[in-house]
Protein backbone atom coordinates (compact mmCIF):
# COMPACT_ATOMS: atom_id res chain seq x y z
CA UNK A 1 0.00 0.00 0.00
CA UNK A 2 1.03 3.57 -0.25
CA UNK A 3 2.09 3.79 3.39
CA UNK A 4 4.50 0.88 2.96
CA UNK A 5 6.03 2.39 -0.14
CA UNK A 6 6.75 5.58 1.71
CA UNK A 7 8.36 3.69 4.57
CA UNK A 8 10.60 1.72 2.23
CA UNK A 9 11.71 4.92 0.54
CA UNK A 10 12.61 6.46 3.88
CA UNK A 11 14.68 3.46 4.97
CA UNK A 12 16.57 3.45 1.71
CA UNK A 13 17.43 7.11 2.17
CA UNK A 14 18.76 6.48 5.68
CA UNK A 15 20.94 3.62 4.45
CA UNK A 16 22.37 5.85 1.77
CA UNK A 17 23.26 8.43 4.42
CA UNK A 18 25.18 5.85 6.50
CA UNK A 19 27.27 4.69 3.58
CA UNK A 20 27.97 8.23 2.60
CA UNK A 21 29.48 9.08 6.02
CA UNK A 22 31.66 5.93 6.21
CA UNK A 23 33.40 6.54 2.96
CA UNK A 24 33.46 10.27 3.18
CA UNK A 25 36.91 10.56 4.95
CA UNK A 26 39.95 8.23 5.48
CA UNK A 27 39.65 8.06 9.28
CA UNK A 28 38.93 5.07 11.51
CA UNK A 29 38.02 4.84 15.16
CA UNK A 30 41.16 4.41 17.24
CA UNK A 31 42.46 4.72 20.79
CA UNK A 32 45.87 5.20 22.38
CA UNK A 33 46.96 4.55 25.95
CA UNK A 34 50.34 4.58 27.69
CA UNK A 35 51.83 3.87 31.14
CA UNK A 36 55.19 4.72 32.66
CA UNK A 37 57.01 2.22 34.83
CA UNK A 38 59.78 3.47 37.10
CA UNK A 39 62.43 1.35 38.76
CA UNK A 40 64.86 2.91 41.21
CA UNK A 41 68.15 1.10 41.42
CA UNK A 42 69.68 0.88 44.88
CA UNK A 43 73.30 1.38 45.73
CA UNK A 44 76.03 -0.19 47.85
CA UNK A 45 78.30 2.35 49.51
CA UNK A 46 80.90 1.89 52.24
CA UNK A 47 83.68 3.94 53.75
CA UNK A 48 86.71 2.77 55.74
CA UNK A 49 88.54 4.72 58.40
CA UNK A 50 90.32 4.35 61.72
CA UNK A 51 91.02 6.47 64.73
CA UNK A 52 93.42 9.32 64.00
CA UNK A 53 96.13 8.18 66.38
CA UNK A 54 98.94 10.36 65.10
CA UNK A 55 96.76 13.46 64.87
CA UNK A 56 97.75 13.86 61.26
CA UNK A 57 94.36 15.12 60.27
CA UNK A 58 93.23 18.25 62.05
CA UNK A 59 89.65 18.58 63.22
CA UNK A 60 88.75 14.95 62.67
CA UNK A 61 88.84 11.97 64.94
CA UNK A 62 88.95 9.45 62.09
CA UNK A 63 91.56 9.09 59.41
CA UNK A 64 92.63 6.73 56.66
CA UNK A 65 96.26 6.34 57.63
CA UNK A 66 98.46 6.50 60.74
CA UNK A 67 102.17 6.40 61.34
CA UNK A 68 103.59 4.40 64.21
CA UNK A 69 106.97 4.38 65.89
CA UNK A 70 107.37 0.79 67.00
CA UNK A 71 108.85 -0.16 70.36
CA UNK A 72 109.12 -3.65 71.80
CA UNK A 73 106.26 -4.58 74.10
CA UNK A 74 104.15 -1.57 73.19
CA UNK A 75 100.50 -1.70 72.17
CA UNK A 76 99.09 0.55 69.49
CA UNK A 77 95.56 1.49 68.59
CA UNK A 78 94.53 0.74 65.07
CA UNK A 79 90.83 0.10 64.51
CA UNK A 80 89.96 0.01 60.80
CA UNK A 81 86.16 0.17 60.68
CA UNK A 82 83.82 -0.21 57.74
CA UNK A 83 80.85 2.17 57.71
CA UNK A 84 77.86 1.20 55.58
CA UNK A 85 76.24 4.30 54.09
CA UNK A 86 72.83 5.35 55.40
CA UNK A 87 71.23 4.78 51.97
CA UNK A 88 73.08 1.63 51.10
CA UNK A 89 71.44 -1.68 50.42
CA UNK A 90 72.44 -4.66 52.51
CA UNK A 91 75.80 -6.10 51.50
CA UNK A 92 78.38 -8.77 52.15
CA UNK A 93 81.65 -7.26 53.46
CA UNK A 94 85.18 -8.42 52.74
CA UNK A 95 88.62 -7.14 53.72
CA UNK A 96 92.06 -7.79 52.42
CA UNK A 97 94.64 -7.43 55.21
CA UNK A 98 98.26 -7.17 54.23
CA UNK A 99 100.01 -7.27 57.56
CA UNK A 100 103.61 -6.15 57.08
CA UNK A 101 104.45 -6.46 60.81
CA UNK A 102 103.11 -9.95 61.45
CA UNK A 103 106.67 -11.10 62.15
CA UNK A 104 107.01 -8.92 65.27
CA UNK A 105 103.51 -9.19 66.61
CA UNK A 106 102.99 -10.32 70.18
CA UNK A 107 101.45 -13.78 70.02
CA UNK A 108 98.72 -12.79 72.42
CA UNK A 109 95.82 -11.06 70.74
CA UNK A 110 97.25 -10.85 67.21
CA UNK A 111 95.48 -9.02 64.44
CA UNK A 112 94.41 -12.36 63.02
CA UNK A 113 92.89 -13.52 66.31
CA UNK A 114 91.08 -10.23 66.77
CA UNK A 115 89.55 -10.54 63.33
CA UNK A 116 88.38 -14.03 64.11
CA UNK A 117 86.74 -12.77 67.29
CA UNK A 118 85.13 -9.91 65.37
CA UNK A 119 83.46 -12.28 62.91
CA UNK A 120 85.90 -12.39 59.99
CA UNK A 121 86.74 -15.69 58.28
CA UNK A 122 89.29 -16.37 55.54
CA UNK A 123 87.59 -16.78 52.15
CA UNK A 124 88.12 -20.26 50.76
CA UNK A 125 91.03 -20.29 48.34
CA UNK A 126 92.36 -16.90 49.51
CA UNK A 127 95.36 -16.13 51.73
CA UNK A 128 94.51 -12.67 52.97
CA UNK A 129 90.88 -11.95 52.09
CA UNK A 130 88.33 -12.34 54.82
CA UNK A 131 84.54 -12.32 54.74
CA UNK A 132 82.28 -10.90 57.41
CA UNK A 133 79.95 -13.42 58.99
CA UNK A 134 76.64 -11.72 58.14
CA UNK A 135 75.02 -9.20 55.82
CA UNK A 136 75.80 -5.62 56.80
CA UNK A 137 72.99 -3.11 56.57
CA UNK A 138 72.71 0.66 56.24
CA UNK A 139 74.35 2.57 59.09
CA UNK A 140 76.26 -0.49 60.35
CA UNK A 141 79.82 0.01 61.62
CA UNK A 142 81.87 -3.16 61.34
CA UNK A 143 85.28 -3.23 63.07
CA UNK A 144 88.02 -5.27 61.42
CA UNK A 145 90.46 -5.31 64.35
CA UNK A 146 91.25 -3.00 67.26
CA UNK A 147 95.01 -2.67 67.57
CA UNK A 148 98.36 -4.45 67.57
CA UNK A 149 101.19 -5.10 69.99
CA UNK A 150 104.89 -5.48 69.28
CA UNK A 151 106.35 -8.53 71.02
CA UNK A 152 108.51 -7.75 74.00
CA UNK A 153 111.57 -9.59 72.75
CA UNK A 154 111.69 -7.94 69.34
CA UNK A 155 115.34 -6.97 68.83
CA UNK A 156 116.74 -4.15 66.81
CA UNK A 157 117.29 -6.30 63.78
CA UNK A 158 113.70 -7.46 63.80
CA UNK A 159 112.44 -3.90 64.16
CA UNK A 160 114.74 -2.66 61.42
CA UNK A 161 113.34 -5.32 59.16
CA UNK A 162 109.86 -3.84 59.44
CA UNK A 163 110.93 -0.24 58.99
CA UNK A 164 108.56 1.37 56.50
CA UNK A 165 106.39 -1.73 56.61
CA UNK A 166 102.67 -1.18 56.38
CA UNK A 167 99.47 -2.78 57.55
CA UNK A 168 97.21 -2.27 54.60
CA UNK A 169 93.49 -2.90 54.91
CA UNK A 170 91.22 -2.84 51.85
CA UNK A 171 87.46 -3.18 52.26
CA UNK A 172 85.01 -4.54 49.70
CA UNK A 173 81.23 -4.67 49.62
CA UNK A 174 79.01 -6.77 47.37
CA UNK A 175 75.22 -6.39 47.25
CA UNK A 176 73.47 -9.03 49.34
CA UNK A 177 70.58 -9.28 46.85
CA UNK A 178 71.06 -12.44 44.83
CA UNK A 179 73.72 -14.05 47.04
CA UNK A 180 72.79 -16.41 49.85
CA UNK A 181 76.28 -16.56 51.35
CA UNK A 182 79.39 -14.41 51.43
CA UNK A 183 81.22 -17.13 49.52
CA UNK A 184 78.62 -16.97 46.73
CA UNK A 185 78.97 -13.22 46.59
CA UNK A 186 82.74 -13.36 46.32
CA UNK A 187 82.59 -16.05 43.66
CA UNK A 188 79.89 -14.21 41.73
CA UNK A 189 81.01 -10.62 41.87
CA UNK A 190 84.60 -10.22 43.04
CA UNK A 191 85.88 -10.05 39.47
CA UNK A 192 84.65 -6.46 39.52
CA UNK A 193 87.45 -5.59 41.92
CA UNK A 194 90.77 -4.89 40.28
CA UNK A 195 93.67 -6.71 41.89
Amino acid sequence: MKTKKKALLTVLCAAALVFGSVFGTYAYLTDTKSVENTFTVGNVTITLDEQDVDNSTTGKDRDTANEYHLLPGKSYVKDPTIHVDAKSEGCWLFVKVENGIAGIEDSNNTIASQMSTNGWTLVSGQTNIYAYRSIANANDNIVVFNGFKVKGDANEAALTAVKDATIKVTAYAIQAEGFTTAADAWTGASSAFTA
Binding site: K6, L29, T30, T32, K33, S34, N37, F39, G42, A189
Partner: protein, 209 residues
Amino acid sequence: MKKKIAAVAVILSLVSIAAMGTMAYFTDSAVAHNVITSGNIDIKVVEQQRKADGSLVDYPVDEKGNPVAISAMPGQTVSKIVTVKNNDEPAYIRAKFEVVAYKLVDKEQSPIDIEGGVITIDTNEAWAKGTDGWYYYSDPVEKGGVTAPLFSEVQFSGPNMGNEYQGATVEINISAEAVQAANAPSKNDNPVTSAIDVDPAIWPTQHEE
Protein backbone atom coordinates in the same frame (compact mmCIF):
# COMPACT_ATOMS: atom_id res chain seq x y z
CA MET B 1 -41.74 26.17 -19.79
CA LYS B 2 -38.67 28.34 -20.32
CA LYS B 3 -38.16 28.80 -16.58
CA LYS B 4 -37.84 25.09 -15.94
CA ILE B 5 -35.24 24.61 -18.60
CA ALA B 6 -33.31 27.51 -17.22
CA ALA B 7 -33.34 26.02 -13.73
CA VAL B 8 -32.17 22.64 -14.95
CA ALA B 9 -29.45 24.25 -16.97
CA VAL B 10 -28.15 26.13 -14.00
CA ILE B 11 -28.18 23.09 -11.77
CA LEU B 12 -26.28 21.12 -14.32
CA SER B 13 -23.69 23.83 -14.58
CA LEU B 14 -23.30 23.99 -10.86
CA VAL B 15 -22.76 20.26 -10.59
CA SER B 16 -20.15 20.30 -13.31
CA ILE B 17 -18.18 23.07 -11.70
CA ALA B 18 -18.21 21.37 -8.34
CA ALA B 19 -16.93 18.14 -9.83
CA MET B 20 -14.02 19.81 -11.55
CA GLY B 21 -13.21 22.39 -8.88
CA THR B 22 -9.93 20.89 -7.51
CA MET B 23 -7.17 18.54 -8.71
CA ALA B 24 -6.29 16.61 -5.44
CA TYR B 25 -5.17 13.00 -4.93
CA PHE B 26 -5.23 10.82 -1.90
CA THR B 27 -2.03 11.21 0.03
CA ASP B 28 -0.51 10.13 3.23
CA SER B 29 2.78 10.84 5.04
CA ALA B 30 4.98 8.97 7.50
CA VAL B 31 8.14 9.96 9.28
CA ALA B 32 10.80 7.42 10.23
CA HIS B 33 13.37 8.38 12.87
CA ASN B 34 16.72 6.61 12.41
CA VAL B 35 19.20 7.07 15.21
CA ILE B 36 22.69 6.05 14.17
CA THR B 37 25.18 5.78 17.00
CA SER B 38 28.88 5.58 16.30
CA GLY B 39 30.92 2.97 18.17
CA ASN B 40 33.81 3.75 20.47
CA ILE B 41 37.30 2.34 20.74
CA ASP B 42 38.59 2.19 24.31
CA ILE B 43 41.53 0.14 25.55
CA LYS B 44 43.48 0.04 28.77
CA VAL B 45 46.98 -1.13 29.63
CA VAL B 46 46.73 -3.44 32.64
CA GLU B 47 49.72 -4.30 34.84
CA GLN B 48 49.77 -7.05 37.41
CA GLN B 49 52.41 -8.86 39.41
CA ARG B 50 52.80 -12.44 40.58
CA LYS B 51 53.35 -12.52 44.33
CA ALA B 52 55.60 -15.03 46.09
CA ASP B 53 52.55 -17.11 47.03
CA GLY B 54 51.57 -17.38 43.38
CA SER B 55 48.64 -14.98 43.54
CA LEU B 56 48.11 -12.38 40.84
CA VAL B 57 47.54 -8.82 42.01
CA ASP B 58 47.17 -5.45 40.30
CA TYR B 59 50.13 -3.13 40.48
CA PRO B 60 49.40 -0.20 42.79
CA VAL B 61 49.19 3.02 40.78
CA ASP B 62 49.91 6.65 41.59
CA GLU B 63 47.66 9.66 41.00
CA LYS B 64 48.57 9.69 37.30
CA GLY B 65 47.57 6.08 36.89
CA ASN B 66 51.16 4.90 36.52
CA PRO B 67 52.51 1.99 38.57
CA VAL B 68 54.30 3.23 41.68
CA ALA B 69 58.10 3.14 41.49
CA ILE B 70 59.71 -0.02 42.76
CA SER B 71 63.30 -0.77 43.68
CA ALA B 72 65.50 -3.10 41.69
CA MET B 73 69.01 -4.46 42.13
CA PRO B 74 71.31 -6.22 39.69
CA GLY B 75 70.44 -9.89 39.47
CA GLN B 76 66.82 -9.30 40.33
CA THR B 77 63.84 -10.43 38.24
CA VAL B 78 60.73 -8.33 38.74
CA SER B 79 57.29 -9.80 38.04
CA LYS B 80 55.43 -7.41 35.74
CA ILE B 81 52.59 -8.85 33.68
CA VAL B 82 51.43 -6.38 31.04
CA THR B 83 48.20 -6.97 29.12
CA VAL B 84 45.83 -4.77 27.11
CA LYS B 85 42.13 -4.85 27.86
CA ASN B 86 39.49 -3.86 25.32
CA ASN B 87 36.61 -2.02 26.92
CA ASP B 88 34.49 -1.35 23.84
CA GLU B 89 34.14 -2.19 20.13
CA PRO B 90 36.18 -5.11 18.79
CA ALA B 91 39.63 -3.89 17.87
CA TYR B 92 43.05 -4.81 16.59
CA ILE B 93 45.76 -3.94 19.07
CA ARG B 94 49.47 -3.16 18.90
CA ALA B 95 51.88 -2.16 21.67
CA LYS B 96 55.48 -1.17 22.22
CA PHE B 97 57.80 -0.41 25.13
CA GLU B 98 60.84 1.76 25.56
CA VAL B 99 63.54 1.29 28.21
CA VAL B 100 65.59 4.28 29.34
CA ALA B 101 68.01 4.71 32.23
CA TYR B 102 69.42 7.83 33.78
CA LYS B 103 70.89 9.30 36.92
CA LEU B 104 69.62 12.47 38.52
CA VAL B 105 72.53 14.88 38.76
CA ASP B 106 71.50 18.19 40.31
CA LYS B 107 67.93 17.34 39.38
CA GLU B 108 68.93 16.95 35.72
CA GLN B 109 68.63 13.60 33.99
CA SER B 110 72.03 12.27 32.96
CA PRO B 111 71.28 9.41 30.55
CA ILE B 112 72.92 6.02 30.84
CA ASP B 113 73.58 4.13 27.63
CA ILE B 114 71.93 0.75 28.27
CA GLU B 115 74.10 -1.94 26.79
CA GLY B 116 72.84 -5.29 25.63
CA GLY B 117 72.19 -7.86 28.31
CA VAL B 118 71.64 -5.38 31.12
CA ILE B 119 67.84 -5.47 31.06
CA THR B 120 66.04 -8.42 29.47
CA ILE B 121 62.34 -8.46 28.59
CA ASP B 122 61.05 -11.56 26.83
CA THR B 123 57.85 -10.88 24.88
CA ASN B 124 55.03 -13.38 24.44
CA GLU B 125 54.86 -15.07 21.03
CA ALA B 126 51.23 -13.98 20.63
CA TRP B 127 52.64 -10.54 19.83
CA ALA B 128 54.39 -10.42 16.46
CA LYS B 129 57.21 -7.90 16.29
CA GLY B 130 56.87 -5.57 13.34
CA THR B 131 59.80 -3.91 11.58
CA ASP B 132 58.66 -0.60 13.06
CA GLY B 133 59.32 -1.73 16.65
CA TRP B 134 55.65 -2.26 17.47
CA TYR B 135 54.32 -5.62 18.65
CA TYR B 136 51.10 -6.63 16.86
CA TYR B 137 48.61 -8.83 18.67
CA SER B 138 47.61 -12.00 16.88
CA ASP B 139 43.81 -11.75 17.03
CA PRO B 140 41.13 -9.06 17.17
CA VAL B 141 40.04 -8.51 20.75
CA GLU B 142 36.32 -8.56 21.55
CA LYS B 143 34.64 -6.17 23.96
CA GLY B 144 35.73 -7.07 27.49
CA GLY B 145 38.53 -9.24 26.17
CA VAL B 146 42.14 -9.12 27.35
CA THR B 147 45.24 -9.87 25.30
CA ALA B 148 47.84 -12.41 26.32
CA PRO B 149 50.63 -10.67 28.26
CA LEU B 150 52.99 -8.56 26.19
CA PHE B 151 55.66 -9.63 28.69
CA SER B 152 55.59 -11.09 32.20
CA GLU B 153 58.84 -10.08 33.86
CA VAL B 154 61.78 -7.72 33.71
CA GLN B 155 65.23 -9.19 34.35
CA PHE B 156 68.04 -7.00 35.66
CA SER B 157 71.34 -8.70 34.93
CA GLY B 158 73.78 -9.28 37.79
CA PRO B 159 77.05 -9.55 35.88
CA ASN B 160 76.22 -6.93 33.24
CA MET B 161 74.67 -4.26 35.45
CA GLY B 162 77.69 -2.59 36.98
CA ASN B 163 78.27 0.28 39.34
CA GLU B 164 77.32 2.87 36.73
CA TYR B 165 73.72 1.93 37.60
CA GLN B 166 74.10 2.60 41.31
CA GLY B 167 71.33 4.97 42.33
CA ALA B 168 70.03 5.13 38.76
CA THR B 169 66.45 5.24 37.59
CA VAL B 170 65.18 2.86 34.93
CA GLU B 171 61.95 3.63 33.09
CA ILE B 172 59.94 1.21 31.01
CA ASN B 173 57.30 3.17 29.12
CA ILE B 174 54.56 1.17 27.45
CA SER B 175 52.23 2.40 24.70
CA ALA B 176 49.22 0.57 23.25
CA GLU B 177 47.04 1.46 20.26
CA ALA B 178 43.81 0.03 18.92
CA VAL B 179 41.90 0.37 15.67
CA GLN B 180 38.35 -0.77 14.99
CA ALA B 181 38.22 -4.38 13.83
CA ALA B 182 35.10 -3.80 11.74
CA ASN B 183 36.05 -3.00 8.13
CA ALA B 184 39.70 -2.49 9.05
CA PRO B 185 41.56 -2.03 5.75
CA SER B 186 44.26 -4.49 4.80
CA LYS B 187 47.80 -3.45 3.90
CA ASN B 188 47.61 -5.70 0.86
CA ASP B 189 45.07 -7.80 -1.05
CA ASN B 190 44.86 -10.39 1.71
CA PRO B 191 42.06 -10.26 4.30
CA VAL B 192 42.81 -8.87 7.75
CA THR B 193 43.04 -11.63 10.38
CA SER B 194 45.67 -10.15 12.65
CA ALA B 195 46.70 -6.67 13.74
CA ILE B 196 49.83 -6.90 11.58
CA ASP B 197 47.63 -7.23 8.46
CA VAL B 198 46.07 -3.81 9.01
CA ASP B 199 47.03 -0.94 6.72
CA PRO B 200 49.83 0.86 8.63
CA ALA B 201 48.33 4.24 7.76
CA ILE B 202 45.36 3.57 10.05
CA TRP B 203 47.20 3.45 13.37
CA PRO B 204 47.00 6.65 15.47
CA THR B 205 50.73 7.27 15.62
CA GLN B 206 50.90 7.49 11.84
CA HIS B 207 48.41 10.32 11.86
CA GLU B 208 50.45 12.33 14.36
CA GLU B 209 53.46 12.11 12.09
